[in-house]
């Protein structure tokens, strides 16, 4: 049963409005205008090769298994469910006295972080170690690229060390895909956040957290609140929620923090927090970056809290059993009141715990391993 007010999109599938390439739109017909003055030749007209743009192919191998994990977009629903199911099994590992399984023994995982990160990098590191992989952490923002080395060159150097997997965080949208197209066939890439584009493991750990509390995705109303424009987390969450069949996904924020054309992603857009979270089962609060609190986007953190900050009073507008999520790190008193962040409806710390199991699941699937039985 739906707890939500407001319209429910009749088509919850995630169909892009147009084909993903226009490059073949202008194929020459067999008999073109240029040829009218000349007798026709019997030869067949040249066909343009298929588009170079194969967005999803690179993520899946020929058997449809996950080879890289770059974006949730356009992945099949079964695959997302498989990630969640595998993660469910890996949570057991984390609760044992000996928190290790030998699934990735002898494999080398390189955490390639071009942007600072604490929790994402740490949970990826823990996940890899619990799979018995050897882990190397490279904070590139502080090293090679500062010396003018290109991304392609950094990559070649690291590949020469016989790495099996790169976990990549980069400030440029599309960087992990760029890397995935460069690496050798037996090397995998996992996106740990690229620009404003995608953060697929964060989205999956959020889906995992939601499923633990609200198993029926097809009855949910989810509200994502805050700086959608700069958020890779929000984008990946929207894709994941739509693929998993959530009928109502709302985004809430001021127009300066909402990118254009959001409706094309199958979400409803709200500018009023009270209206946007009314009846919602899940509220995902996004972090507001410090540098955006006082800028041409927003007048102040104080005013933002007044208009979009989640307080206990406002939370009462959501469903009675609504859960509150946040990808962290949280800004208390900016996007969220401490009473909410630390309150009974908050699942923010569970998200962190689940992050390890979900990343173990993704890594093991990508490495072609199998999750342990239940």
């Amino acid at each position: 049963m739906l707890n939500c007010s407001g319209p429910i999109p009749c088509d919850s599938s995630f169909a892009p409005p147009e084909p993903d390439s226009s490059r073949n739109r202008c194929r020459p017909p067999a008999h073109g205008a240029v040829e009218t003055l000349f007798p026709d030749h019997p030869d067949t007209p040249p066909g343009r090769g298929d588009s170079l743009l194969m967005h999803t192919d690179i993520q899946l191998d020929e058997r449809g298994q996950l080879r890289h994990f770059l974006s949730v977009e356009q992945l099949p629903r079964e695959l997302l469910v498989a990630i969640l199911d595998n993660a469910e099994r890996f949570t057991v590992v984390g609760e044992r006295a000996v928190k290790k399984v030998p699934l990735a023994r002898g494999k080398t995982v390189v955490n390639l972080f071009f942007e600072p990160s604490t929790r994402t990098r740490t949970t990826f590191e823990l996940a890899a170690k619990r799979l018995s992989a050897d882990v190397m952490n490279l904070n590139i923002e502080a090293s090679a690229t500062r010396k003018g080395e290109s991304l392609a060159d950094t990559l070649r150097t690291l590949e020469a060390m016989n790495t099996d997997m790169f976990v990549v965080r980069h400030q440029d949208s599309g960087a992990p895909e760029f890397i995935a197209r460069q690496v050798a066939p037996d090397v995998s890439v996992i996106n740990a956040g690229d620009g404003r584009h995608a953060h697929p493991t964060q989205a999956m750990l959020d889906m995992f957290t939601i499923r633990r509390h609200k198993p029926a995705f097809d009855t949910l109303c989810v509200a994502i609140v805050g700086d959608i424009a700069h958020s890779r987390v929000a984008r990946s969450e929207i894709h994941a929620l739509k693929i998993l069949g959530v009928p109502e996904v709302r985004v809430v924020g001021p127009k300066t923090l909402l990118p254009v054309g959001l409706e094309a992603l199958g979400v409803s857009v709200h500018h009023d927090l009270d209206e946007g979270i009314a009846g919602a089962d899940v509220i995902i609060m996004l972090r507001l970056q410090q540098e955006r609190m006082q800028s041409a986007l927003l007048p102040s953190g104080h005013e933002y809290f007044h208009t979009y900050g989640l307080t206990p009073a406002r939370l009462r507008r959501a469903a009675r059993d609504a859960i509150v999520m946040h990808p962290g790190p949280i800004n208390r008193g900016v996007e969220i009141d401490s009473a909410v962040a630390d309150g009974s409806q908050s699942v923010i710390l569970q998200q962190v715990t689940h992050g390890i199991a979900v990343r173990m699941a993704v890594m093991s699937m990508v490495l072609g391993s199998h999750a342990p039985g239940p």
Binding site: D20, R27, G32, G174, D194, H197, G261, L265
Partner: protein
């Protein structure tokens, strides 16, 4: 040298010609169309143009030739040879070189590098402001005297409206055409692709269409104010067409072109963060592309440009936003143009007018036509020649093309520059 181009389909928009006939060339001029002129004698060269189209040579009105300053990407010689192979007989180069073309010495250097090259001619566009800095006017009189066919700030925004107004007024005083890139410097300052649902999807910073419209509107007001002759380079938005039409109706001396890639590709092609599709102005929505096609077909936009920007491989071997914008456009220009003709988007005569006659008039060149007495800048192409754009076939040093690896139809077989055969595929 006396040359006959035998039995080709002659298309000359200037004279309204579209017929199968011989073309006779004597020295650097066109001697006759159809029957051999009296006293011509035996041609030293008899070129079989049957089943081919013979038309005035194409003129590229704003290519980046990368020399001086970025010779690792391309050189004047390499690109002029590529231009000739692509059917271009004249290439205007932009002044954003290093050093900038803001002194006669740099123009002389370019002319010297072009000397002896078996390829297209080069004509320099001079800087509009000193060092393209947008603050101090360039020595436009000296640049005109050394042969610059126009002045431009080559995509570097002039933020100070007063400087732009004065630059336009000064260029107008000297009778120089100003080439403008319409883009508001603030909107989409960090942007790398068209702002819309697709930039939201890709997470790439967007450049809204408003950036072009506001830039265009501002520039047009100043053009009206100063009476300057202005040409807008590579417009990308549907909405820009109306601004240009209205300006023309108001009597302003304004023209505009569109890049060939912008008539084929859209922001959908950026969906996979394909750096080959990173270009400025950005590839926009399907409705923009379609509106630009119609505007070119109807003459509301005057010219078609290759918008040639060659790059080395490293410049594109990076994530989309970190890659350098630009498409190497000379080699694929003709087949892409013919594809539009075959798709019924534009008439062949109109297309040839847009890349030969119209730019010749803008630049005051005595080419761009096959009329008797005109300079013999002539392109011959086989509209049915199938070929693949690849490392072997591409003449430009820059292989940065979204069409790289694709089958194309239509190829230039001969190019004559001033009556000299500089490209001959049959040889």
């Amino acid at each position: 040298m006396k040359i006959r181009l035998r039995g080709g389909r002659l298309i000359d928009p200037a004279t309204g010609t579209d017929t199968i006939a011989d073309l006779w060339i004597d020295g650097d001029r066109i001697a006759a169309v159809g029957r051999k002129p009296a006293g011509f004698g035996a041609p030293a060269r008899d070129i079989d143009a049957r089943e081919r189209v013979v038309c005035p040579g194409f003129i590229e009105i704003g290519a980046r030739l990368r020399e001086p300053g970025a010779e690792h990407k391309a050189s004047i010689a390499s690109e002029l040879v590529a231009a000739a192979a692509g059917g271009f007989t004249t290439v205007c180069c932009t002044p954003d070189t290093s050093p900038v073309i803001d002194t006669p010495a740099v123009v002389e250097l370019i002319n010297q590098r072009a000397r002896g090259v078996r390829g297209a001619r080069v004509r320099a566009l001079g800087a509009l402001t000193h060092g393209l800095g947008g603050e101090v006017l360039a020595e436009m009189h000296a640049l005109k005297a050394i042969g610059c066919v126009g002045v431009t700030n080559a995509g570097r925004a002039i933020r100070d409206t007063n400087v732009l107004k004065n630059a336009l007024a000064y260029a107008s005083t000297l009778g120089l055409t100003v080439f403008l890139d319409a883009e508001d410097p603030w909107l989409g300052a960090q942007g790398v692709m068209h702002e819309g649902a697709r930039s939201t999807r890709t997470g790439l910073p967007g450049i809204p269409g408003a950036a072009e419209l506001i830039g265009l509107a501002r520039d047009l007001v100043l053009v009206a104010e100063t009476g300057a002759r202005a040409h807008f380079r590579t417009l990308s938005c549907a909405g820009s067409v109306k601004y240009i039409r209205d300006a023309r109706k108001a009597g302003l001396a304004v023209s505009a072109d569109v890049g060939i890639a912008h008539l084929h590709l859209t922001d959908a092609d950026v969906a996979a963060h394909d750096a080959a599709c990173h270009v400025r102005p950005p590839l926009r929505a399907t409705r923009d592309r379609d509106a630009l096609r119609r505007a070119l077909a109807r003459g509301h936009l005057d010219m078609l440009s290759a918008h040639h920007e060659p790059h080395d491989a490293d410049a594109k071997a990076a994530p989309f936003a970190a890659s350098a914008p630009g498409i190497s456009g000379l080699d694929s220009f003709l087949p892409l143009m013919l594809e539009l003709v075959d798709a019924g988007a534009i008439d062949l005569g109109r297309a040839i007018a847009a890349c030969a006659l119209a730019p010749a008039r803008l630049l005051d060149l005595d080419s761009g036509t096959l009329a008797v007495g005109a300079v013999a800048d002539v392109t011959v192409f086989d509209p049915r020649h199938d070929w693949t754009l690849d490392a072997t076939s591409m003449r430009s040093r820059g292989h940065n093309s979204p069409f790289f690896g694709q089958r194309l139809r239509g190829r230039v077989t001969q190019t004559l520059v001033g009556g000299r055969l500089v490209h001959d595929l049959d040889a």
